[in-house]
């Protein structure tokens, strides 16, 4: 019975996620009570606020960016490549795509397409730098992507200057030329609020499906997973490790390029000093929380976004909203701990099951 329940990896994930959630709520409650706040009413306030239409829209919109970011990270993780550079990749991509979209006026559809393609290309190319450094010079991608995040900031700052790619947007704000109406993607209305859902949420969904399909159904995905599961076995099976590193990084960077698109085409229409930052780093945590799978990441990014959004009410109630960061870290850590335990138990059950079926228990 139990082995049947544990046979499927998603049941294991589910059990792990549930236990972890309970655990992190417990931790959060303890911290709250120690500091003199009432946990149930705090959670209730967050929940009440979180289920208002405004918050739902904001949560979904935010989750789209988180989701893409985590997917980008997960592509690398699936083959033990650690792309910390998603942050720089998406910012550079969004900036150049915004500049291109603002500079060129094109007919609708083509305009949007061009912007997105530019973003994907820039993200991919910027990610190719650490990939090439790794395969030709053996530079650890952990270091190179950290450094390239900083360097990307420098490049963006250089280009984002009036006279280069930027225009003055207000007395104190600069940004790329605003993308004209033909390049925008109007938001989708949501009942009960003026906030609009980014229509490009669909990109995130497509990317998720594409990711799933690529990983599970294509030869390339098989090679990628094989490399992640056992580098040595993959190489012996004919996988070209260098090529895989480059491909995976470029794909990861390409997806990273998409991160800014829902926001850019659906809301801000310009890359200004006010463009959201840091999504690439959040994506690492979310990818890990979602166990690098498209479905897990979806739940993880929704949870993360929900916590982010609903934490606003805490500030309003004079509770430090950083309690949410504690919850997030606790979820992340406990999910992995619990999953570790669950899968070890699962593996043991599997082995016992195999032995039992073969009648070899008395070895």
């Amino acid at each position: 019975m139990i082995h049947r329940l544990f046979a499927r990896s998603w049941t294991r994930t589910l059990v792990a996620a549930f236990v972890a959630l309970v655990f992190s709520i417990a931790i959060t409650s303890i911290v709250l009570s120690i500091s003199g706040f009432n946990p149930p009413s705090t959670f209730q306030a967050m929940f009440e606020f979180g289920k208002e239409p405004d918050s739902i829209v904001n949560t979904l919109n935010k989750a789209a960016g988180y989701y893409l970011s985590a997917l980008a990270v997960a592509v690398g993780f699936r083959m033990n490549l650690f792309n910390i550079g998603v942050d720089g990749q998406y910012r550079l991509a969004a900036m150049l795509a915004a500049a291109a979209g603002g500079a060129w006026s094109l007919p609708p559809v083509l305009h949007q397409l061009v912007i997105i393609v530019v973003a994907v290309l820039v993200g991919g190319l910027w990610a190719a730098v650490p990939a090439l450094l790794k395969v030709t010079r053996g530079v650890s991608e952990v270091i190179s992507t950290i450094m390239l995040n900083f360097i990307a900031t420098g490049i963006i700052a250089y280009l984002l200057n009036p006279g280069r790619l930027a225009v003055q947007l207000g007395p104190n704000n600069i940004g790329t030329k605003t993308i004209s109406r033909s390049g925008r993607v109007p938001g989708t209305p949501f009942p009960g609020t003026d906030l609009k859902l980014y229509s490009l949420l669909v990109i995130a969904i497509l990317a998720g499906v594409g990711f799933w399909f690529m990983i599970n159904r294509t030869r390339f995905g098989f090679d990628l997973r094989a490399t992640g599961l056992s580098q040595s076995a993959a190489v012996a099976s004919g996988v070209d490790a260098r090529r895989m590193v480059v491909m995976a990084m470029v794909i990861s960077g390409g997806i990273a390029g998409l991160i800014g698109m829902p926001q850019l085409l659906g809301e801000s229409y310009t890359y200004s000093l006010n463009f959201p930052t840091g999504i690439g780093l959040t994506g690492i945590g979310i990818a890990l929380l979602g166990r690098n799978g498209p479905v897990g990441i979806a739940f993880a990014s929704l949870l993360w976004a929900f916590l982010d959004v609903s934490s606003q009410i805490l500030d309003f109630n004079d509770i430090p909203k950083e309690i949410v960061a504690i919850t997030q870290a606790a979820v992340l850590l406990s999910v992995v701990v619990v999953y570790e335990v669950v899968s070890r138990v699962g593996q043991r059950i599997d082995q016992r099951h195999v032995a039992a079926q073969l009648g070899e228990v008395a070895a």
Binding site: D54, T153, L160, P171, E267, T277, Q312
Partner: protein, 327 residues
């Protein structure tokens, strides 16, 4: 566009409005404690609380957040009956543009921006270049080495305005003066406003290379620069609020002056005007003319007889004879 508030005590008559006034304020990244304009805004809010005896609520921003987060924050305040609501920083422009029309009875103010054209939005703008011009002149006058410095926190248009005014003021006094200019970080990396270690290193470098006065427009990083000044026994010029007041006893002698950007005054006056019913929509400019911008004279021994020159320049700016550049 429903007003949606549950306990919306929006507006009300002008006369007895005072009693129902609850003041909301949303900070820019950095929030309370940045020793810069968020703190100044907070000071204004405290004054509101003490002198006008009003309820206040201040909410913090998160680094890297999106416009939707800001929209929600402003709405949260407006919806819960806070009126007026002050948004600190131009980063709120887009968000305010969406929220203000939904709450026509709520008075909003935004600091450092004037792109939102709404009847219920007041733009609190500052002529930082004017004050910077004056402290630039002061620096050039004070300098014996003919070399001074400018440390910016993050290279944004706002901070470049400080730089431009400072440079122009210094050149006015001494056209051949050497000015070292350095920013700590580049946008969108705003860590330059809170990296005292780097603020210190940069200022030290400037002093080492001959500068004897350094103007630091770098938020919290300035505290590091001030330390460098004190240990090099050279001059330091603060920004936004009077940094002589907050400096430690050992550092006070080296704070020559500060360029004052009275966000506190602006916030206080705005709230007061809402209470009085005299609120003004559109641009409210704070400059030398209306004491919204000034330079500090809390260290008179450092300024010495310089004040005459400075006051003279100040008059020329007020009268329009001199127009310090913005970039």
């Amino acid at each position: 566009a429903g007003c949606g508030g549950k306990k919306a005590t929006t507006g009300g008559g002008g006369g007895d409005g005072k009693k129902t006034l609850k003041v909301g304020l949303a900070y820019d990244v950095g929030g309370r404690g940045d020793k810069s304009f968020n703190d100044a805004a907070y000071a204004g809010l405290q004054k509101v609380q003490q002198e006008l005896k009003l309820d206040v609520k201040d909410l913090e921003a998160k680094e890297g957040e999106s416009d939707n987060d800001k929209i929600q924050r402003l709405e949260l305040l407006a919806k819960s009956g806070y009126n007026p609501v002050v948004a600190v920083g131009f980063v709120y422009a887009t968000a305010l543009g969406k929220v203000a029309p939904k709450y026509p009875n709520t008075k909003f103010a935004i600091v450092d921006d004037n792109t939102i054209q709404q009847p219920n939005v007041t733009d609190l703008l500052f002529a930082e270049q004017e004050g910077s011009y004056l402290v630039g002149a002061a620096a050039a006058k004070k300098s014996q080495t003919g070399s001074i410095g400018f440390v910016g926190g993050v290279q944004t248009p706002l901070i470049k305005k400080f730089e431009a005014g400072y440079v122009a003021g210094a050149k006015k006094i001494n056209p051949k003066i050497k000015i070292q200019i350095k920013y700590i970080s580049q946008p969108p990396d705003f860590s330059g406003f809170k990296d005292p270690a780097k603020g210190k290193t940069i200022a030290q470098g400037m002093y080492d290379q001959g500068a004897d006065v350094v103007y630091v427009a770098a938020g919290l990083s300035g505290s590091g620069s001030l330390e460098a000044a004190a240990s090099a026994k050279k001059w330091f010029i603060g920004v936004d609020s009077d940094q002589w007041q907050t400096a430690s006893a050992a550092e006070k002698p080296y704070v020559m002056t500060s360029m004052l950007k009275r966000v506190d005054t602006a916030v206080f006056n705005f709230v007061k005007s809402v209470g009085d019913g005299t609120v003004q929509k559109g641009d409210v400019r704070f400059s030398l003319k209306n004491d919204g911008i000034d330079y500090a004279t809390s260290n008179p021994s450092a300024l010495g007889d310089m004040t005459t020159t400075l006051n003279d320049l100040k008059q020329q700016i007020i009268s329009g004879k001199i127009t310090p550049p913005e970039k």
